[in-house]
Symmetry: C2
Subunit: 196 residues, 2 copies
Amino acid sequence: MKKPGTLLKSQRERIVRTAARLFAQRGYHAVGMTELQDAVHLGRGALYHHIRSKEDLLFDIAREYISDLADDASAAQQQADARERVRLLGRHLVQKIASHQAELTVCFREVQSLTDARHAEVMALHARYEHAWREAFELGAAQGHFRPYDAIVLKGVLGMYFYSYLWMRPDRAMSPDDISLRFNDMALRMLARDPT
Amino acid sequence: MKKPGTLLKSQRERIVRTAARLFAQRGYHAVGMTELQDAVHLGRGALYHHIRSKEDLLFDIAREYISDLADDASAAQQQADARERVRLLGRHLVQKIASHQAELTVCFREVQSLTDARHAEVMALHARYEHAWREAFELGAAQGHFRPYDAIVLKGVLGMYFYSYLWMRPDRAMSPDDISLRFNDMALRMLARDPT
C-alpha cells in the first residue's frame, strides 16, 4: 500500500507530465489552467493544492529532466575510461530525451518565460551537466584517446544529441538504445585523436 | 537613387528583422504590435501598410532563412565532389545561423504557432533543405568517400550545426568561418567510411 505522501507526489508528477504534454502540443501561452484541470480530471481547488501557478509548472518541467541528467552525470564519473564514460553519458542522454521529449520541447521553447532567478537556476543546471561532458573529454585527452579539449567539439557533440528532441519518434522501429549506439560512435569519431 | 519599390522592400525587411529580434528577446506572445511600432518608429497605419498581422511577421521570419538555405543548397549541387559539397553546405549553414540567429530562435520556438497551411509550408522547406544534405551523403557513399547513407547520421550532423543557434555569439573572437571549419571537419569524421 502506498503511503499518502507517495500518492501526493505521484499526483503532482501526473499533473506536471500532463502539463508538459499539453504545453509541448499547443504552446505554453495557449494552454489555460482550465484546460489543464480538465486534462487531469481535477477541480480548481484540487489542482491548486498541488501547484501554485502555471509558471511553477514550467519551472518543474524545465528543471526536472536536466537535474536528473546532472545527477546521472555525477554517477558516470565513477567510470575511469573516458570512452566508456562518453558512452554512458550518451546513453543516459538519449534515454532521457526519449522518455521526456515533451519536457525538453517545453524547456527549449519556453525557458525565457521563467522569472530571472528561475531562469538562472535552470541554466546553471545545464552548465553543470555540460561540465560533466567537458571533464570526460579532458580525461580522454589526458588518457591519449581524444584530441585536446575544444569547446566547439563539445558544443558539436551535445548538439547532435540534444537536437534529437525535435525528430525522435519513440514509436518507430529504432529504440533509444539503437540511436545512442550510433550517436556514441559518432561522438567518439568527433573526439578521436587522429583525424580521418 | 533607390526606386520606390526597393525602398518599400527594405522598409518591410527592417520591420521583419526588428520583429525577429524582439520576438527572440522577449517571446512572440509577449511582444505587442504597439511595442513593434515604437521599435521601428512607425505609426499604426504605416506599420499595417507593410504587414497585415503579427502572424504574418512570424511566417516571414520562419520562412526566409530556410528558403535562402534551400536555394544555396540547390546551387551547391553544382559541386561534384561530395566532400566539397558538404563543406559548402556547412559553411553556408553556419553563416546563415550567425547572420539570422534571432530568426532561427523564433522559428525553433514558435513554428507551432503558425496556422496549419503555413506550418506545413515552413516544414516542407526544412525537408527540402535536409534532402539536399541527404543527396550529398548518398553521392559521397557512391564516390567511396562516405559510409552508406544512414538517416541517424544525417540527423546527427544537422543537429551539430543547427544547435549552434543556441550558443553562437557573433561578437566573440571566433568567426562563423572558423566555426564552420571545425564543424565541417567533424561532419566528415562522422561520415567517413572507415571507423576510427
